[in-house]
């Protein structure tokens, strides 16, 4: 009996259509569709692509929090697969996010190995490289015939319970995992080789790559505090009573902007905290402990600052992905700019 594999592709690779069909609803077909042919060839006779699940990229993206994942999992489960392949998505951003999301869900929920493939700059890479194996592909589907055998080989290894080697050997994007192993050459020799290679300006390879942290240069200093327009931002989960926009108490997916116009302090009648990561008792009693409206208003009256903006911006920091936090700020920074905000105080608990 060949081992069963299910394949996920989007509307484009299924031959249904391009952008105009990106709202295509989830569907599962028995057997292979489109790039499934290459997958089947690469997997060989001991494996069978029993079904292909298809979903439009926009449909996936707009329903990512509205049940598209469980819906797809139900379809996939019926075929009782032992392995799962998504894409590859190459440089298609929404497709990459869909492939990463569904591959991770299959791996976590159905407890079977899952593999996908993407170009390094696909946004799906940063979102999922720590969770799943993502074979590194080129930026277009012209790379299909090179990429698919790598996806198949890595999936087969996992399905057979064989040891998966490092990113270089298998062709996947680094997951940030470090594994101890014995090298036939001792560290001192390799260190000298590395140094010599560096001096010669040759390409170098390190056993111990440092994490890449995106550094931002500090913004120029404020020149005139007494005329500056100051905005308050917080990750402390402060929201108006009743939490009208349903900001989550952890792993926030959104932020809010709420009025403090005319208020001389942040009153517990008006505000509450939904943050699920600290003891809320103190801030519930006095929200100024997190959004210091009282002090800023007094400093505004004294002329120490020019103006406290009429609103504050808020979300919940706990459990929230750095990528989400980055997106929140990308969304609200244009508002701050439009309102000519000169500087920001950002309070985190």
């Amino acid at each position: 009996m060949p081992k069963k594999v299910v394949h996920y592709i989007n509307q484009f690779f299924a031959g249904i259509g391009g952008e105009d069909k990106a709202d295509y609803k989830p569907e599962i077909r028995a057997g292979i569709v489109g790039p499934g042919l290459a997958l089947k060839a690469a997997l060989g006779n001991e494996y069978e692509v029993v079904a292909t699940v298809i979903c439009g990229d926009n449909y996936f993206g707009s329903n990512i929090d509205k049940g598209v994942v469980p819906e797809l999992l139900e379809m996939i489960k019926k075929y009782q697969p032992e392995g799962f392949v998504a894409g590859p998505a190459f440089n298609a951003g929404r497709y990459g996010v869909a492939c990463g999301t569904i591959a991770k869900a299959v791996q976590d929920e159905l407890k079977i190995p899952a593999v996908t493939g993407m170009y390094t700059e696909n946004p799906g890479v940063d979102m999922f490289k720590k969770d799943i194996y993502i074979i590194q592909t080129k930026d277009s589907s012209a790379d299909m015939r090179h990429a698919m055998p790598k996806l198949a080989a890595l999936l087969k290894k996992q399905m057979a319970g064989q040891e998966v080697l490092g990113p270089k050997e298998e062709g996947y994007i680094e997951k940030g995992i470090r594994v101890n192993y014995f090298n036939e050459r001792r560290g001192s020799e390799r260190a000298v080789d590395l140094l010599v290679a560096k001096i010669k300006g040759e390409p170098i390879y390190t056993d111990y790559p440092l994490p890449v942290v995106d550094k931002v240069s500090p913004a120029p200093a404020l020149k005139d505090l007494a005329h500056a327009r100051i905005a308050l931002v917080t990750s402390g989960g402060i929201v108006p009573q009743g939490n009208p926009d349903h900001i989550e108490s952890s792993s926030a997916s959104k932020w809010g902007k709420y009025s403090i116009a005319g208020m001389d302090h942040a009153d517990k009648k008006d505000f509450m905290t939904v943050h699920g990561g600290y003891d809320r008792a103190f801030i519930t009693e006095d929200p100024d402990l997190c959004i210091p409206v009282d002090v800023l208003r007094d400093l505004e009256k004294k002329g120490f600052i020019g103006k406290l903006m009429d609103y504050f911006i808020t979300t919940t920091g706990t459990g929230t992905a750095t990528n989400s936090a980055k997106r929140f700020a990308e969304e609200f920074v244009p508002i701050l700019k439009k309102d000519q905000v000169d500087a920001v105080l950002l309070v985190s608990t």
């Binding site: 931002v216 120029p220 210091p292 002090v295 950002l346």
Partner: protein
């Protein structure tokens, strides 16, 4: 969020309790806060004292905005 605000050229002071996290993510102007459940103030010391603590920290954070920095800087003391 701090980084994106900085990136946009708007100076920002991160007032936060867990300074090592702020340093790791890459905030550039940092003022250490009092505690996780009450970053700005200390309600256990009464309302007046709590306000004074808050005033001190907010003032320091505002002044930090006026200081040119070329690397991550933690403003530990009033200045």
């Amino acid at each position: 969020m701090v980084k994106e605000i900085d990136r946009a050229g708007i100076p920002v002071t991160h007032i936060c309790t867990v300074v090592p996290i702020s340093l790791t993510i890459g905030a550039n102007r940092i003022v250490p806060a009092i505690g996780i459940p009450y970053p700005l103030g200390d309600p256990t010391k009464g309302e007046k004292k709590s306000y004074e603590i808050r005033e001190k920290l907010v003032t320091r954070a505002l002044k930090a905005l006026t200081v040119p920095v070329d690397k991550q800087t933690v403003f530990e003391e009033d200045f």
